[in-house]
Symmetry: C2
Subunit: 816 residues, 2 copies
């Protein structure tokens, strides 16, 4: 595999021009229609087609929106339309530049899709006026490609994820092309900068193609962009180094004639589309002939260098505007109050000659209308951009078949995630076309390696013989591992947004790297689910958090942060779910539930290390279905009011809480303890605040109205208070959780530092149960000694003492 030439092809050859004069005229006219609509939606509340002279009262009172990247995006779009028609392409469009929605909206309207989705925004004068007015207007739509935008799976509100979303969309969609316009501002973000490497994970045989269009318009909000201010040589080297084959389209020249760049774009884009097809054909023919490991293709990409705000006024009040950052947002700021500026705006808008583009009724004239693709080939009608329409449920094996055989609670230690790996392996096997697992080089570390029995890890870069030792590599692997949480999360989002299924596994501390991506996806989901019936439900985004705070024996303090849950609980209860399965059977039940669900972000917290197992599969299913429950085997308040409620959420806090119970049953058998375990964290919320929330009656019957409650929690304690502060017994709820104390510690030592350990819990209970306080002082001293001994043992031996490390639930308490 070699590069095609050493200079990017600019196609300035002498062969016949790709567009006939007639085609050129029409394409340019269609583009003018896009641009007219784009500028009109920034400004107009009335007089949609300028059929009367423009007056201040036609202008919106507040001007909001962004012009800068619209013309370049629409330019790309109209040329894509030509090729969709010519080659029957199955193509979607992702708009990377944050505020470039007017381009997508204009095109959706001209394609007729907008009016089909929103009948009020009809293809006539009245509809166009509503369409223009609603843009960036209170009660209307936003200036990004929000969920309200037909054809969009990428909002662009937060920059950096367009390319990873595009790759996610085409994985396992061999026929699909995702054109991704990458803004040169966005290109400076870290997530975008590394996502160019996604080409090492795309199989030309089974996946579709991403066609990036780097839109080099030179400026961000108020600064030049880096990529526009390096040499052409550097720019091309950068993209060749990223493994792409760049083609530069540049213009217009100083004479401002747009014909040459139209011809150049038409020819380049056609060449590039044919090149994509050629790469795919070569790879697929080779695969059909039994060749398994093709060379990595150098996929083509386009670098489109056009002026920022292209076609707007060159200068306003002595300031350069077209081709400068002053064209980023609204180029003319005060047409309502400045007559010269109103005239300039009118002149600008009339330069697109709307009277030639729309008929008397306000509809695009037929000769232009026919340039748009038809039916589902229209970019904004492509069903891949409303992925729920295409979504097929997973073919799931029965999760109970993977159960750990629990005969008695708390006797057996197993890695719960290892067990989950077997289930996921078979999910992969049965759903090779629609399910992938994503993780930043931590899949085996998180003990999910049984999955590799079903599929390798996706890899299109070079191979070495040793790659077969351990989870193997494969071009079409279902397990995606790259050391970029951003890219993985972006791939997964693109994958589920286009109707497929997946799971992201990552170290707990570093899931914060994608806090902001989670926020944006949750916001997208909420709007789609609650306000947009035309968007079919998509698979939930499943995030498995492992390598938890409590087992960072060698990674230490940097790897201790369970705060992602706090971020999650700030988002809408309609789309957020958090599960803390205490053992493997619960984890299986929860995972099955999550994989079947739609329109949520499911966060599952489960450690990878070996932990005690408690529930049979039947018990686990019941427990997970309720989401919270009393564990009888660990409770001795049956038939009584308890003296104390010991609650817990999370595998490690559960084990420590049980150990505390065992100590007290032995040392203070008179205390009546109710043991509660929480799997579904939102059960703790009031029912008015979360669909999973409990009524006051339910909550009070579990947690009592007046007894002390010790809650041993996986994460930061305040989260439990956040969920329960309205509960009747809240003043008696005492939460233990991670207190930001730790370094290199044994598991028990770290628990002790944060007081979630068995001994501190037992002391806590003694302190809070009045009837114990008289006689338990000896026990308290003993417990305090245990703490000191545990820490001393750890510091001396580097491990916990066997009686703590290998602790199991007392057999004599199993009969209950």
């Amino acid at each position: 595999m070699s590069f095609e030439g050493t200079q990017a092809a600019t196609l300035n050859g002498t062969h016949p021009l790709p567009l006939s004069p007639e085609e050129l005229r029409k394409i340019d006219a269609y583009w003018r229609a896009c641009n007219y609509l784009s500028v009109s939606m920034l400004y107009l509340r009335q007089n949609p087609l300028l059929r009367e002279p423009l007056k201040p009262e036609h202008i919106k009172n507040r001007l909001l929106g962004h012009w800068g990247s619209d013309p370049g995006q629409s330019f790309t779009w109209v040329h894509l339309n030509r090729l969709i028609n010519k080659y029957d392409l199955n193509l979607i469009f992702l708009s990377g530049p944050g505020h470039g929605a007017p381009a997508t909206l204009s095109n959706s309207y001209l394609e007729g899709v907008y009016s089909e989705v929103y009948p009020q925004m009809s293809e006539d004068i009245a509809g166009m006026q509503r369409f223009q007015k609603q843009f960036s207007f209170p009660g209307g739509i936003g200036s990004h490609c929000t969920p309200e935008t037909p054809g969009s799976i990428h909002e662009g509100g937060e920059l950096g994820y367009s390319l990873s979303h595009g790759f996610g969309a085409v994985f396992d969609n061999p026929d699909l092309i995702a054109t991704v316009v990458v803004g040169d501002g966005e290109a400076e973000t870290g997530p975008l900068a590394t996502s160019w490497h996604s080409n090492k994970f795309l199989d030309p045989v089974t996946d579709g193609a991403v066609l990036p269009v780097l839109h080099l318009n030179g400026y961000k909000i108020a600064n030049p962009t880096i990529l526009a201010r390096i040499t052409r040589e550097e720019l091309e080297q950068l993209f060749r180094g990223y493994g792409w084959d760049p083609y530069v389209v540049e213009g217009p020249g100083p004479d401002q004639d747009t014909e040459p760049i139209h011809q150049q774009m038409a020819e380049t884009l056609e060449h590039v589309v044919l090149r994509i097809r050629e790469i795919q054909k070569n790879a697929r023919d080779a695969a059909a002939a039994g060749k398994t490991c093709p060379d990595r293709p150098r996929w083509p990409m386009i670098i489109l260098r056009t002026p920022k705000g292209w076609t707007c006024p060159k200068e306003i009040d002595g300031h350069k505007v077209e081709g400068f950052w002053r064209a980023h947002q609204v180029p003319i700021l005060d047409p309502q109050t400045s007559a010269p500026h109103l005239a300039l705006l009118e002149q600008w808008m009339r330069s697109y000659k709307p009277e030639e583009l729309f008929d008397e009724s306000g509809k695009l004239i037929p000769e232009l209308k026919e340039l748009a693709p038809k039916g589902k080939r229209r970019i904004t009608a492509n069903p891949h951009a409303n992925g729920g329409l295409l979504r097929k449920p997973l073919d799931l094996p029965c999760f109970a078949d993977y159960a750990v055989d629990v005969k008695l609670p708390g006797q057996l230690s197993v890695s719960s995630t290892f067990v989950l790996g077997a289930f996921l392996r078979d999910v992969i096997k049965r759903n090779m076309d629609r399910f992938r697992v994503f993780g930043p080089d931590e899949t085996a570390s998180n003990k999910l390696q049984q999955m590799y029995q079903a599929s390798g890890k996706a890899w299109m870069a070079e191979y070495l013989p040793e790659d077969l030792d351990g989870g193997y590599l494969s071009p079409s692997g279902r397990v995606m591992e790259m050391l970029s949480e951003h890219t993985l999360e972006g791939w997964l989002e693109g994958y589920v947004l286009t109707g497929r299924h997946g799971l992201f596994n990552t170290y707990e501390a570093f899931v914060h790297i994608i806090d902001s991506m989670f926020n944006q996806h949750a916001k997208w989901l909420e709007k789609s689910k609650m306000e947009l019936r035309w968007r079919a439900p998509i698979s939930s985004l499943n995030i498995l958090i492992s390598s938890l705070v409590w087992r960072q024996d060698h990674n230490g303090f940097t790897h201790q942060d369970p705060g992602f849950l706090d971020v999650v609980t700030n988002k809408s209860p309609e789309v957020t779910r958090i599960y803390l399965p205490p053992d493997a059977n619960c984890l299986l039940s929860v995972a099955d539930h999550c994989l079947k669900s739609s329109n949520y972000v499911n966060v599952i917290v489960a450690d990878k290390a070996e932990h005690l197992q408690y529930l049979t599969m039947d018990q686990a299913i019941k427990h997970c279905t309720k989401g919270i429950g009393i564990w009888d085997f660990a409770s001795n308040d049956q038939g009584h009011e308890p003296d104390v409620v010991l609650a817990c959420a999370g595998d490690i806090p559960t084990a420590e809480a049980l150990a505390a119970v065992a100590i007290l049953r032995s040392k203070c058998p008179e205390v009546k303890i109710r043991f509660i375990n929480v799997v579904d964290l939102f059960r703790l919320m009031p029912e008015e605040e979360h669909p999973h929330g409990m009524s006051a009656r339910e909550f009070d019957s579990l947690f009592t109205l007046d007894k002390p409650v010790i809650f041993n929690f996986h994460a930061y304690a305040s989260l439990i208070h956040k969920f329960t502060y309205r509960r009747a017994n809240h003043a008696n709820i005492h939460v233990r959780g991670y207190k930001e104390k730790g370094n290199i510690n044994t598991p028990l030592e770290l628990a002790i530092l944060n007081q979630v350990d068995r001994f501190d819990l037992a002391i806590d209970i003694i302190d809070r149960v009045p009837k114990l306080q008289a006689n338990a002082s000896h026990t308290k001293e003993w417990l305090k000694d245990q703490i000191i001994e545990a820490v001393n043992y750890a510091h001396e031996n580097g491990i916990d003492a066997p009686e703590n490390r290998d602790w199991t639930w007392p057999l004599e308490l199993c009969g209950k």
Copy 2:
């Protein structure tokens, strides 16, 4: 400006070898000493120099730590030592690979620095044994370059920031070279991938140099790395495209002889160091000659391709180890229990010939000792890596000189951040060598543009004439703008860690992009401040959050997220501070305080839009000093118990709360309202939990023991409950905050959607004050009508009605 040759210089020429046989022998021996120490700290608790045969009881009970990148890093280090000595270099070392601490620790110990900082870890057998045992051992030190590591300013626990930290360190340190070893795993992260572009922001005249060493050892935890599996041509193109001049050092060959790569590294590194000096001399000579805008240099970098786990056993039990991912962590897993593996370990350790390297007492032999640089030139003794030692306080102008002239409260609207910009401008002017402001292309958007009067924006890429229009560009600009929050935050961290001062400004919603970086920096600060007296205090990391949730009129839902404060409050109270100044004079006072402080992360929340101003500078200083207080002009409970307490935090919630007071004073003059404003959020916490916390007495005297409290909060409501749930009157505290409701809305409409608006607050008060309930039903109806009218007006006109938009505090209430 042209590249130096088209192929990377591998320096395989025929000229004399750079190292004499004697030098080579010594350098290799020193490297063996590093490697011996690195492997020994993974394994040994006793028998530190293998002076007796290795036995199971000498081995740690739990083996934790990482071998993979250690030999390559030490290899780089010993060659750097040679050049430090030869050219008297001022050089620090940043270890990007997460777990490569044994390399830094070994070198620090061999340089003698470790024993100076930790006298117990002396340069003798007993000290060496303690040094080995403490590594990755409970109660000991971590396996990253944690704050406990002398010479470290970069922990590497979370990957991606080594290069941006390195750049931050050398800005305004013209004499300093920061060698940054970038792991090829880390290189896949987004933050690292874009930080290569930092070279467009480094001025060769006034800044030092970063020397990146991309350590291509081929593997992550369990996968190959991308950059190791692309062609050499692509690899070099990538880095040329990033603007660097790459030199490849590669080895050893199949014969495993290390002499060639030693010679290659010695020659390349020397060439590269001289090239750095040449670039600097050219630029500085040109500057001295009055040339202001030099070409951007192509700085040299090294690509070091050596086997992962270099020098460990090639194979173990039939599995390839050296040169494969199986060398990532502990290569031999069970020497305690497997006699053959114990023997293999001993053979491996003895291969470094410790008996030749250390004298009888256990100290490095003199002929090797002399290879280390002396005094502060020793890498781990370089004071730049303990930046507090070099820190000079800022020369601050009197912030009160920038005060807004407030004659009466609530009459004047001003952008508070615009006012702050004037203060920052003069901070820049007076501290050109030690203060920078960082922001992702949003500095002008955040209204701080008065700073540009003092300094341009840093820029070393191409210039165009129009760049003078608006905030101008300049190679040595003090304002750093790149569209990468990660890079900016990394630069700022590196800048303050090396003893300087700065401020990061960013849009509120997108500060979540650096959640995890904040977490890591806070953890670093806490350990440094609370446990390591030898680390001198560094400047606080100041984060100014602007473009707030409540003013996203056109950006909409994606830009609405005030949740960063929740992330901040999970970190140690010893290092976290949050301020919500309600107006410009308070913002000035807070900013001055933050810029003077050390060892905190200060988060300041202040909107950029124009808002009412309330306090004179004297009042503002008093208010900010207390951090919380009753505003008399807005209270009418003087001399009484109030009927209700109306509290607020944040500029916009404060304005709405005041408007609610004005409504009630007019409509329900009989209600006694106490108006409290909170600037310093942690004042709300119990004094036991945060150094700024209030005692119960103070809190209760403000918030009463039993009166209803309405708290109008800037961010998510639950944070106030998190801070106050232990307060006596908590059950009566009702918090209004952002409820994740919004889209395109006018300011008042968005407030209404989330019920932080004047009308809803007034209704809330009426509902909660018993004496109002009888007679206020008419007022409540009126208020509800106002809400409906406000939304209707917004949807009709696209703006808020003038009487709401231009509302001021009633003059008749100014007299009290």
